[in-house]
């Protein structure tokens, strides 16, 4: 798949669409004929990053598979807000079974399609971070290990938001949740390894692993399309801010996702067969404070009784990511920034 860089300076290459581009070169989301895989009327909170991420990813997958797509959903916000009986927001074939078995169900659906001779129908499994890194982890690892022909997408909002904002293994250190109160010497979630699922997926040597955010649509759509060009197990980890769980303004969802990438806290990269092949470098480097201060789950780190020491440890995590993946901005981008 080739990527053409077209310089439209007015909007750069960052906006969703561009009237100056030919229809073929625009994003799926800029088309009035996009699938809208998840329809209006869903009951996600205002400014929900997950609803947005799911539409971005599935619409792109629909285009990549010519509409021959089937989605299997784990339990979680995405399932609950889209399908309160008897309503459904899904405009694609969609299945829900349990919280922990989505990867196994997806494997089964893919097997059934193979048996029916419908290998043109592709399967996507999807879950939040809880369903992926905690509850569904065993079946997901099995799916990877067997190299089943499924693209599994995790919409990572860093906690169990549907049940009332409890901690998951994807919750970042120091963040306040219902189960990690801001008490003691290390308020909020503890510092630890967490579960870095993209890297765990890479350790399975599956054909394709990528991370993306709802702030860079072009990148996300390209990665979905790339993933669909492989057969076998593939994993896409999409960063989706949660205004309710994070205590952020509803209009900041995309801005926060952008800052997560621009601070280095959420590395955006892709890997094939266990090897990193591409990283999205930082364009306007930002300190972690800029990202943290917009979220009430980090409010205890700032103000009169703030914890600059903890902020520094979070900055160290960002710096380590920048070093590990080579995310530092290109030199000329930095120069431009300093001039501005």
């Amino acid at each position: 798949m080739s990527e053409q860089r077209v310089h439209f300076y007015q909007v750069g290459s960052f906006a969703v669409g561009n009237r100056l581009l030919s229809a073929d070169d625009r994003t799926v989301q800029s088309s009035p004929h996009r699938t809208n895989s998840i329809d209006s009327g869903h009951r996600a909170c205002q400014g929900c990053g997950e609803a947005l991420g799911a539409r971005y990813a599935l619409d792109a997958a629909m285009r990549a598979t010519n509409g021959q797509l089937l989605a299997v959903n784990a339990t979680g916000c995405l399932e609950v807000f889209s399908t309160p009986y008897p309503e459904t927001s899904w405009r694609i074939p969609w299945l829900h079974s349990l919280f922990g078995n989505a990867p196994a169900v997806a494997t089964g659906v893919a097997a059934a399609m193979r048996v029916k001779g419908r290998s043109d129908v592709r399967v996507v499994g999807q879950a939040g971070d809880g369903g992926t890194v905690d509850i569904g982890f065993g079946t997901l690892s099995g799916m990877f290990e067997r190299n089943d022909d499924v693209l599994f997408i995790c919409y990572d909002n860093e906690g169990y938001m549907n049940t009332g904002v409890q901690r998951s293994a994807a919750t970042p250190p120091a963040a306040r949740t219902a189960t990690t109160d801001v008490v003691g010497a290390e308020p909020g979630n503890s510092f630890g390894q967490g579960k870095d699922l993209p890297r765990i997926a890479m350790a399975h040597d599956i054909p394709y692993v990528a991370t993306a955010t709802v702030a860079d649509l072009h990148d996300l759509e390209r990665k979905v399309e790339r993933a669909m060009s492989f057969r076998g197990a593939r994993y896409l980890h999409v960063f989706v801010p949660c205004p309710l769980g994070w205590g952020s303004a509803t209009n900041e969802t995309i801005h926060l996702a952008r800052l997560a990438k621009e601070t280095g806290l959420f590395p955006v990269f892709e890997a094939e067969h266990g090897v990193v092949t591409n990283v999205s470098r930082i364009r306007r480097l930002a300190p972690v404070e800029e990202y943290l201060k917009l979220q009430r789950r980090y409010a205890h780190l700032f103000g009169a009784k703030g914890r600059p020491d903890i902020v520094a440890r979070l900055q160290a995590i960002a710096d380590a990511n920048i070093a590990r993946y080579g995310l530092a901005p290109e030199r000329d981008e930095l120069d431009n920034r300093e001039d501005a």
Partner: protein, 541 residues
């Protein structure tokens, strides 16, 4: 109907669930006033014509431009582009080269012979325009568009006023000037040259004019009393430039001193260089920061070998020798004498100390108020006498060509309202699209395209145009650098970023529409709109 076990309801779409009821604020599309449009003295819709130019629609862009200003090729050369000083793009990298694109459009129009819109249906009203400078030409154009008959008179042999007799040819080639003037007169303007109006009332009544527009300019160079010997050559800059424009340049010798710090002083010094002066020295009583001349003109003059004596005044001029007194700036920034003197060899002295307006044609009229040497006017540009309007340098103004063109437009509309006996209504002004309304993340960094300058050595000796034009490719690049502040340019961001699919993409004039049945009012579209064309307003319950 048979249903599976334990299923009691049919599956339905979530569209039955109107989540718009959750909303406390609603997004609405707005147009804000781009700072370039706000700053343009001629009232051009700059963002509007750049939008057309971005897609290569140069004729549409030019047509949008001449709705307000019929002289784009001229403006693209002589305008000091306050639009660029106001441009929000400096927040990303550098201001958009609006002036260069304007010139490209103007030149392209001349090249392709695009004509101005036809005159409006005849109203039977007759208007006399006195003075064919930028104000008079602008008024004539807009009056013809409005269907009024126009007689344009000027005391010089050719039309153009200060555009021709004040601005040297190296800044404004005469072929360009002639082409844009001809386009206006071709709309059916009655032109009388070599005709000086001595009494405005007589002229008005003899000709049976329903209204008069005075755009006589400021043609009289100010003189100061400088003791000078008989043999000393002293001339004012306006006369000097006028004579050069008439191709009858005075002999100024090899060492020319220009006294003054405005654009005219620079024009005079640069012209003197081109006429063969080895030394062209500007004497100015304050320092460079306080100089009223535009910075880029100063830059160009210095590059051509013009030198400046800052903080100096001319004390006397005798025997080819100027005596200068050194000045210093006091705490308020005003120059005060120091009592120190120095001498400077000079063959001639050019005075560029400002200009006065010749208003002798108003001597028989007691109604029109003249104060501070200029005609006082209302917002309609009308004087105290009904039907007599004034504009350009003859009215209170910044005295630039662009302001004059703007006055011409305003006066034409004022005259139109007067002749139709209706109230003059100036258009609604939207809120200003300041930089804090923009989300500059979406604009890539792209430094501006500089116009090629003639090699310096070449322009010291001839009157060839100094600044070249942009190529089409460069002009397109430059137009696309426009951020479209405050006005939707169809980037699809709102359509793409809505988590509730509550933005409807229509295309065409309307572009987008909100579906308030499902919009939850999260405000992401407003936050992610690059150009600030959406705002949240409280939901009224």
């Amino acid at each position: 109907m048979e249903r599976p076990f334990a299923i009691t309801l049919d599956v339905g779409t979530s569209r039955a669930n109107h989540t718009g009821s959750w909303r406390v604020e609603r997004p609405v599309y707005v147009d804000r006033l781009p700072p370039c449009n706000d700053a343009c003295p001629a009232g051009e819709n700059i963002q509007g014509w750049l939008y057309e130019a971005e897609s290569g629609g140069y004729e549409a862009a030019w047509r949008k431009l001449v709705e307000n200003n019929p002289l784009p090729a001229i403006m693209g050369r002589v305008c000091f582009h306050p639009c660029e000083s106001a441009c929000n793009r400096v927040q990303v990298d550098e201001a958009v080269g609006i002036n260069a694109v304007e010139r490209f459009l103007g030149d392209t129009a001349i090249e392709h012979g695009w004509s101005l819109p036809p005159a409006g249906p005849d109203t039977g009203k007759r208007v006399l325009v006195v003075g064919a400078g930028p104000a008079g030409l602008g008024a004539a154009y807009h009056l013809r568009l409005l269907g009024h008959q126009v007689r344009l008179v000027d005391s010089s042999p050719k039309l153009g006023g200060m555009l021709r007799y004040g601005i040297p040819a190296y800044r404004l080639p005469r072929a360009i000037l002639d082409a844009e003037i001809a386009r206006i007169t071709d709309m059916g303007v009655e032109v009388i040259v070599n005709h000086t109006v001595h009494d405005i009332d007589v002229e008005r009544h003899e000709g049976g004019f329903d209204a008069v527009f005075l755009a006589v300019g400021a043609q009289l160079g100010k003189r100061v009393n400088i003791p000078a010997g008989d043999s000393s050559k002293v001339i004012d800059a306006v006369s000097f430039l006028h004579q050069v424009a008439d191709e009858d340049p005075p002999m100024l010798g090899r060492r020319v001193v220009v006294y003054g710090g405005g654009d005219t002083a620079l024009d005079a010094a640069r012209t003197a260089r081109r006429l063969g002066a080895t030394d062209a020295v500007i004497v100015y009583r304050r320092n460079r920061d306080k100089m009223p001349a535009h910075a880029e003109e100063v830059e160009q003059a210095l590059g051509e070998g013009v030198t400046v004596r800052w903080l100096s005044t001319v004390e006397r001029f005798e025997h080819e020798r100027l005596v200068l007194e050194k000045m210093r700036l006091n705490a308020d920034g005003f120059p005060e004498p120091t009592g120190e003197y120095e001498e400077l060899d000079a063959d001639s002295l050019v005075l560029a100390l400002g200009q006065d307006t010749d208003l002798s044609l108003l001597e028989g009229n007691d109604n029109v108020e003249v104060r501070d040497g200029v005609v006082q006017v209302a917002t309609t540009m009308m004087t105290n006498e009904g039907g007599v309007f004034a504009g350009g340098d003859a009215a209170p103004s910044d005295r630039t060509a662009t302001v004059a063109v703007g006055h011409g437009k305003r006066a034409a509309r004022g005259i139109d309202a007067y002749l139709r006996n209706v109230d003059f209504v100036s258009g609604d002004r939207h809120d200003l699209a300041t930089a804090d309304h923009l989300n500059t993340w979406y604009y890539a960094d792209a430094p501006r395209t500089e116009r090629p300058e003639l090699e310096r050595i070449r322009r010291q000796t001839n009157f060839e145009e100094v600044i070249g034009g942009l190529t089409e490719e460069n002009a397109l690049f430059e137009a696309r650098r426009c951020l479209s502040c405050g006005n939707c340019f169809e980037c699809d961001n709102c359509f793409g970023v809505c988590p509730d699919n509550a933005v409807i993409k229509l295309g065409g004039e309307v572009k987008y529409e909100f579906n308030y049945d499902f919009c939850k009012g999260c405000g992401i579209c407003v936050r992610e709109c690059p150009c600030g064309a959406i705002e949240m307003i409280p939901e009224l319950i």
